[in-house]
Amino acid sequence: MNHFLIGFAISSLFRRGAKSFFTIFIFTSLIFLLSSILFISNSIKEELFITLKSLPQITVQKLQAGRHTNIEISKIDKLLKLNGVQSAIPRIWGYYYFEKAGVNFSIVGIDSFDKQYKKSFEAIVKDVDFDELYKNNSMIVGEGVDKVLRENYYQGVFNFIKPDGELKKIKIASTFKSATALESNDIILMPKDLVLEIFGMNKNEVTDIVLEIANPEEIPTIAKKIKNLFPDSKVITNSDLRVSYQNIFDYKSGMFLALFIISAFTFFMIVYDKASGLSSEEKREIGILKALGWKIDDVLKAKFYEAFVVSFISFLVGVMLALFFVYTLQAPLLKDIFIGYSRLKPVFDLPFAFDFQTLFLLFFLTIPIYIAAIIIPSWRVASMNADEVMR
């Protein structure tokens, strides 16, 4: 290690203060943007993974004239008799279109005695007395729902319109924050009987039935058996759902990729343009150093140290800022663009999904390219005749 050479390189950065600052600024912004995109993308992948794990293994619906309709609750007994079926949970839920805001809410009926078909609901439902909610005509809503309601001047209460045209006034008992939220938190939880009322459903009907299967290998076989047992049913397995979730994710990550490429390209154009144009002053300096007996590789070593310091500092600062921006500030703006493609923006935390591999990739895609962009033009100047400085 020649610390004189390193010292010379660093003092050169200080001497060209404005240019160095500009380069570090651009480079840091680039790294910040690229790593933010990567972090968000990783987080969404993680989110998808959690969501996929909690998907029901089999969902049984009823078809009437080819359209989804409510299913008789009595079918549960027959389903439970099938070999391999561990449990069958009736679900009462449906979309409710809120015209004023142009959004769909998902209303989910809860019976505190039933096993919840979703783990995330269990935590929310645990301390809630649904009998009490029923008596008070109350519901629990996701934060996103609460926000939309308040934006439309509903304070703590909402008027649902029943199929018979009558209004049903339901109070907001509390709000919750959804942890897994690819499926967004447009969710409203309320006692089953209130849901039946709002959707005008019979007491002996449910929206669908979800099954738990002891051995996941058997899912396709059991799905076939159900189809034979109830020819009017539609049987959806978790792998069917996985495909549609994957499609949503692929679409989003495609947008990420596009943004990633565009920003990478733009910023590299700027950095390259800034880096490759050696000023006449810099050219003269290289000439002087050569005339004083510096070899080409002495000159290039100094340039390498300069470029390395610039790009490494920028990389560190950019990644730190991105970590802070994505995981502490929860990526304002960027998160909106990529997560809320429905008008109801889900309010949820980006789970911390730090992936060293992507960081390495980013490191090796940016730093060597930048160093090359610095070294190559300097090398061209340094290989010229040293007597240029005589003129």
């Binding site: 004189f4 050479l5 001497r15 005339a291 004083l292 007996g293 070899k295 400085v389 005589m390």
Partner: protein, 224 residues
């Protein structure tokens, strides 16, 4: 010490602006000799100096310095050769104006990763010798012309070279500073260094410690 054998230097060869700067030069300079190259502007003095310092290569002929055929050396070896043997005082000084005197003076030593204590001792010696100790940390752009030249001389001497080359050293100095420069040259001559000075300043033509005055015209040596 220095041998120019049949040297011809053509710039922009085979182009419309082809220029023959040196024609068939034969010259020998002995170790410890002080030679003054005189001649009008454009006579080829600077070109000859840059060939001796291996800053460029002759088109025809051979340059031998200290028994090394520098005109045949690849680039990396000429750099090393310059660093170890040549102290060049350029006409325009070629200092880096945003660096301090100290930083400029140590430039030729950096590639060989010097010992810091020894280097500082050597720099202080030179600063004292040229009476610029107080300017050690000053940026070049804040120095006067004479001070800048003395920094350039100190830089040329930092590696203790056997050969010292100066191109038009008094061109930018007034008479008082020119005389001071001549004193410095006298001192270097006493240290038995080989010195070559290209100049058209008459001050150099009648000095008793100058061994030879060689006159150049149109790329050729007139008399020696």
């Amino acid at each position: 010490m220095i041998e120019c054998k049949n040297i011809t230097k053509v710039f922009n060869q085979n182009k419309r602006n082809e220029q023959t700067a040196l024609k068939n030069i034969n010259l020998e300079i002995k170790s410890g000799e002080l030679v003054v190259l005189k001649g009008a502007s454009g006579s080829g003095k600077s070109t000859l100096l840059s060939l001796i310092a291996a800053l460029s290569k002759p088109t025809i002929g051979e340059m031998v310095v200290d028994d090394k055929r520098v005109s045949k050396m690849p680039d990396n070896f000429t750099a090393m050769f310059r660093r170890q043997n040549i102290g060049f005082i350029f006409q325009k000084y070629n200092l880096i104006s945003t660096l301090s005197s100290y930083e400029n003076i140590i430039l030729p030593t950096i590639p060989s990763n010097p010992d810091e204590i020894e280097l500082d001792k050597r720099v202080d010696e030179l600063l004292k010798m040229f009476d610029i100790t107080s300017k050690k940390e000053s940026h070049i752009k804040n120095l006067s012309g004479g001070e800048q030249q003395r920094v350039a001389i100190a830089r040329a001497l930092i590696n203790n070279p056997k050969i010292i080359i100066a191109d038009e050293p008094t061109a930018n100095l007034d008479e008082k500073l020119s005389l001071e420069f001549i004193d410095i040259i006298k001192e270097l001559k006493q240290q038995k260094r080989t010195i070559i000075i290209a100049t058209h300043d008459p001050l150099f033509f009648n000095l008793d410690f100058v061994d030879r005055v060689i006159e150049m015209k149109d790329g050729q040596i007139l008399c020696s």
